[in-house]
Amino acid sequence: MSGAQMLLECLVQEGVDCFFGYPGGVTLPFYDALYDHPIRHVLVRHEENACFAAEGYARATGKVGVCCATSGPGATNLITGLVDSMMDSIPIVALTGQVSSSLIGTDAFQEADTFGITRSCTKHNYMVRNIAELPRIVHEAFYVAASGRPGPVLVDIPKDVFQAMGHYTPVHSIHLPGYKVFTEGHAGQIRRAAQMIWEAERPMFYAGGGIIAADASRELQELTELVDGPAVTTLMGLGAMPSGHPNFISMPGMHGSYAANMGLTQSDLIVALGVRFDDRVTGRLAAFAPHAKIIHVDIDPAEIGKNRTPDVPIVGDVKRVLQKLNKVIEELKPAEAPRTETARRAWMHKLRSWKQEFPLAPVTSDTEIKPQHLMAEIDRVSGGKAIVTSDVGQHQMWAAQLVRFDLPRLWINSGGLGSMGFGLPSAIGAQFARPESLVISLVGDGGFQMAIPELATIASYGLPVKIIVMNNGYLGMVRQWQDLFYNNRLSSVTLDCFPDAEKLAGAYGFKGRTVTQPHELAAAVDACIAEPGPYLLNVKVSPFENVYPMVPSGGAINEMVMGPPQPAVVK
């Protein structure tokens, strides 16, 4: 068979049922082989979105997402998606075509040094030099992408390798002597952690994307129940605890809740599970949780001690570690109520009352649609069950605060990199992965306009994605910072031209609508969700609403600004 056919065979062996791509000159042999192959190729409208769609697929399922692009501009267009998946630890295999081996290094047409360019934005990358090594490399790529701390792996394939003829011999084992994956966790450290958890008076479970990646949400819930301790989940960890779980507090960080941030600050033991002490969570690092001892569980040894030195480091797969930890916790459970029992009860009570006293509650108005009102509506139709994808910015933060997620892999957003234009293509990937699920692409008017070409993909495949644009006419989060920190000098943040949603969707052959009045909102959202096919709902929200609570950049997370400054009383 040809190299192109061999690549497809490898994809089949890896269980790939669909992938996202855009063809070009050097991938012609590959697309020719694809012509009569059962594997499904989704033609997107821009390579960046191929990678974002693959991410949506991977985030919705936990499987490796696959994208494909041609050499040169095709490959360079993938970069943002690769970095995005690197930052959020999403398993991606990116296949790129390369000019024929004999032309490499000659500045040939559509040549770029993809292998060199993508070195720093992939977990690992390969250039295939001959057909004999193609199957080994492709299977290695899938293994590396999915194992350990997941991430993107790129395989660059010259055109002559696609064209060469060879024999596919199945690859039975992968030998990467230098690829160290530690999954089990140190038994002694796990025991020490369990002891510390029982001894703590104000324990706090701080869980993140690692819980989702390791499929450990059940174990996390079990742990919080065993010791009746409070848990916060990061932006990447939303859904790891069902929103209604009695031990779930909410999201901490820059736009986190009062209860979550004060809880972390006053805690005497933070159990960090699959998190990386990101600056958006910790605020000023030196002031973060000053009284807390830290237990840090992560599969990536380089995360341990990167930002905060733990008292008990545990390198391992968080699911395996939690399974063991929960056992030891039960084993060590004091026969009588532990010495710390009273303090712990008071602590849990304190967090629950903070949560009630300072809720993340939607603001509404009779005259204009508040963005929080829109989130409440989305929350209503989702009921904690829908897949919601988002870009980055105000809408992302309000969604994270106000839309409930009762299961992992429902909340799909660009966390670490914060890529605009992520919400729409990732919804495409999620919908392909979960054809029966309700997929809401919740985007800002800025991010949406970066991704408009993908409306064609949605229309062409008849994907029932519900696109809801939170349209405030501004690059909202940047405007918020200009408002708060740059004397409200609004520089280049006005997005004053937005297409007519009905006409725009209509131009692609599906329905769309703009709503402006609060009393129309509920019905409009219902109609959008009830539509069997795609729908574009453009919601004009009040333009100057800011996201609160907010920890100003460089502030400690207990120094939250809870709301807009109140007008001074003039006597």
């Binding site: 590396v144 194992s147 690859v171 089990e184």
Partner: protein
């Protein structure tokens, strides 16, 4: 403080770039770098001298150990180790100072590898700081040209090299879950 890192690296395309990329991504300038094959032609030994802030040194080693082509990265500044460098010096001397210069060469244990009426070519090996002194000394005799090899280092501690065993593929039908292996 200068950190000397010793790495055992698979001899594969891009491996050097991956290692140096970890340093350049953080804005560190590499002071010296040597790479050569080991007894196993598929592996290379790399020694890097780099000035890294104290608190980041462990992080840099961890990041390097994460690289798939790196079998082992060790901070040589931590344990007992030997570090040596070679230098070639072309020294121009006047007739009257030739003898004095040769005496210095002898005291230092360096060797003359070429001699002409203009001066000498001298080869010296030693601890990098010792070489600094020797080069300083040679300069006092006149104009010199210097080519240094960069440091090579070897650990005196018996640290076991832990290599990962092969893992069955999905095609072989037994890759568990998302494909994690025991560590």
């Amino acid at each position: 403080m200068m950190q000397v890192i010793s790495l055992l690296v698979e001899n594969k395309p891009g491996a050097l770039l991956r290692v140096t990329g970890i340093l350049s991504a953080r804005g560190y300038n590499i002071e010296s770098l040597t790479v050569a094959r080991t007894l196993d032609p598929e592996l290379s030994r790399m020694t890097i001298g780099v000035d890294v802030e104290e608190r980041l040194r462990a992080q840099v080693i961890k990041q390097m150990n994460k690289l798939i082509n790196v079998l082992q990265a060790t901070d040589m500044t931590d344990g007992r180790s030997i570090c040596r460098e070679m230098v070639l010096i072309k020294a121009r001397t006047r007739q009257e100072s030739r003898t004095a210069l040769l005496k210095e060469v002898e005291i230092f244990g360096a060797r003359v590898v070429d001699s002409s009426t203009d001066g000498f070519a001298i080869e010296a090996t030693g601890d990098p700081e010792k070489l600094d002194e020797f080069i300083g000394l040679m300069r006092s005799y006149g104009e010199i040209e210097v080519a240094r090899s960069g440091a090579v280092a070897i650990s005196l501690e018996s640290k076991k090299l832990r290599l990962q065993p092969p893992v069955p593929t999905r095609a072989a039908g037994s890759l568990a879950g998302n494909g994690v292996l025991n560590g």
